[in-house]
């Protein structure tokens, strides 16, 4: 009886260990997570592939002073192929102007889709 009670309690607690789940798609899912180490000589961009069911043929970041960006419309930092999900990052080494707002987004491409992550705004401190 004691064992059954303990088993039930453990089962209930395991059921309740809720963490955020990522729903599946036919395309890879990508988020731009943060921009760090912002200076006049560059910054580090962080992104995450949260879901992937197909091979990612290319991924990376696009950054610009305009919030509307796409491959070919903005500065592209391509990081090549990637398998599976997970975080990725790169360091931008370029002169940035103090007080100017910049925008960056992470992207991922599969053979059928191009997926752009959310746009993150950052500003070089004066």
């Amino acid at each position: 009886m004691k064992k059954i009670t303990i088993t039930i309690i453990i089962f209930l607690f395991l059921c309740a260990c809720t963490k955020e789940e990522v729903t599946s798609r036919a395309y890879p899912r990508v988020l731009t997570t943060e921009v760090a180490n912002i200076t006049t000589t560059g910054a580090s961009f962080h992104g995450e592939i949260t879901f992937s069911s197909t091979e990612i043929v290319s991924h990376g970041f696009i950054w610009s002073t305009f919030s509307s960006m796409a491959i070919g419309y903005g500065n592209n930092i391509a990081l090549g192929q990637k398998t599976g999900t997970g975080n990725f990052e790169t360091s931008l080494q370029s002169s940035l102007v103090k007080g100017v707002k910049y925008y960056v987004l992470a992207y991922a491409q599969s053979s059928n889709y191009t997926v752009y992550g959310n746009v993150v705004e950052f500003e070089v401190p004066k």
Binding site: L12, A16, E20, R29, Y113, N118
Partner: protein, 395 residues
């Protein structure tokens, strides 16, 4: 949802099946020939105990239904005692089982809501009545305290008066006890060992399956949120009045993660939304508990109302627009404000004594709440149904 309701109804039905077997407690009967027999007496609420006594000599014996004509008295060990008395009730004199509150040189009885004083003979103490006194252009109401006058006459041989005695069990019992002391009689107050108020602190933890419905989204958008809950409560009872009813106040800490998914079509775009609501609450359920048997080991039912107080909450919405094999993502993270979240709950449970005052209990509880949520992206009414399984200790 239907499964949850069916499950709760099934539990309620099981509890009532157990209840139908009756709550027999150690007691005794005194027959008209003065034979005293100990056994088991069905425990019934005070108001149902005046007309009949249900008695079994042993657990397996057949139940006997005994009327006031059949007995001189019956009672429970360390609890209530009833004596057969002929009272002037509506329609003339009638034999009933009157509850003995004090037995001595002077005795005090209770039948339903009327008290009776007995010294040389049995005298009714009339219930308070409000009387309107009318003049030509004025009127006022006053209370008719006939019982005070009657008692003052009865206890005049001691230096006592009933002028400040309320028409309550406690005040009248104390007065009659004082009178008995004055007359050198060792009166017995049958329920003196039962406290007027008793507190039972409880600690519990459990599992909660919560379903959220936000009116601005389809009903099946959010998945069930399974979470651990923990909390504490205090049950109040007055064993002297009724040992089966409890008033309960609880405090729960609840943290829920609700995840939803919605899809829509906009001209050439397919829109997909992932919604994540992360919320923690302090919830305060207030309710009544009714034990079906003696508190040591009993099924119980509980019901009441609940109010939620939001401690922290956030909303995250990831929107993906797919058009011509290109997907753009936008992310919004905002604080969420839950407003006026309140509802009702119904529970069935079982409690069992471990040692001394320590008891363990398990409970299945259904809860339904409504309210509204607000953020810059969502401003909508919402409803929430929870099924909780609790395991706790009662001190």
């Amino acid at each position: 949802m239907k499964i949850i309701i069916l499950l709760v109804l099934l539990c309620v039905a099981s509890v009532f099946t157990v209840c139908a077997q009756g709550d027999f407690r150690s007691g005794f009967i005194i027959k008209n020939n003065n034979d005293s027999i100990t056994g088991l007496v069905r425990y019934r609420k005070a108001s149902s105990s005046y007309d009949f006594c249900f008695f079994k000599e042993t657990k397996g014996s057949p139940e006997q239904k005994l009327a006031p004509d059949d007995l001189k008295a019956y009672g429970y060990i360390d609890d209530r005692r009833y004596e057969t008395k002929t009272l002037k009730l509506k329609g003339g004199g009638k034999k009933v089982f009157a509850e003995v509150l004090v037995k001595g040189k002077a005795s005090l009885y209770l039948n339903e809501i009327t008290f009776y004083f007995e010294k040389d003979s049995l005298v009714e103490l009339p219930i308070n009545k409000r009387i309107v006194v009318e003049g030509e252009d004025w009127n006022y109401t006053r209370e008719s305290k006939k019982y005070v006058g009657i008692l003052n006459l009865q206890i005049a041989d001691c230096n006592l008066n009933a002028n400040k005695v309320n028409y309550s069990q406690r005040d009248l019992t104390n007065l009659v006890q004082k009178y008995n002391q004055c007359k050198g009689s060792k009166g017995v107050a049958y329920k003196k060992n039962l406290p007027w108020a008793k507190l039972y602190p409880q600690l519990f933890a459990g599992f909660s399956a919560s379903n959220l419905k936000v009116d601005s989204y389809a009903s099946d958008v959010f998945k069930t949120s399974n979470t651990i809950i923990e909390g504490g409560s205090v049950d109040f009872s007055s064993p002297r009045i009724n040992s089966k009813f409890f008033f309960s106040i609880e405090a729960w800490y609840v943290k829920n993660l609700y995840q939803g998914y919605a899809e829509s079509q906009q001209s050439t775009s397919q829109i997909r939304e992932d919604l994540v609501i992360d919320v923690s609450y302090l919830k305060i359920p207030l309710g009544l508990r009714f034990n079906l048997r003696k508190d040591d080991q009993t099924p119980y039912i509980k019901f009441g109302v609940v109010k939620y107080y939001e401690l922290k909450s956030s909303l995250k919405i990831i929107i993906e627009r797919e058009s011509n094999a290109v997907v753009t993502t936008s992310l919004a993270q905002q604080t969420l404000d839950s407003r006026n979240l309140r509802g009702f709950w119904l529970a069935v449970g079982y409690t069992k004594s471990l040692s001394g005052r320590l008891k363990i209990f398990s409970e299945l509880r259904y809860e339904n709440t409504v309210g509204s949520i607000y953020s810059p992206l969502i401003d909508s009414k919402m409803s929430n149904t929870n099924l909780n399984v609790l395991l706790g200790l009662r001190f």
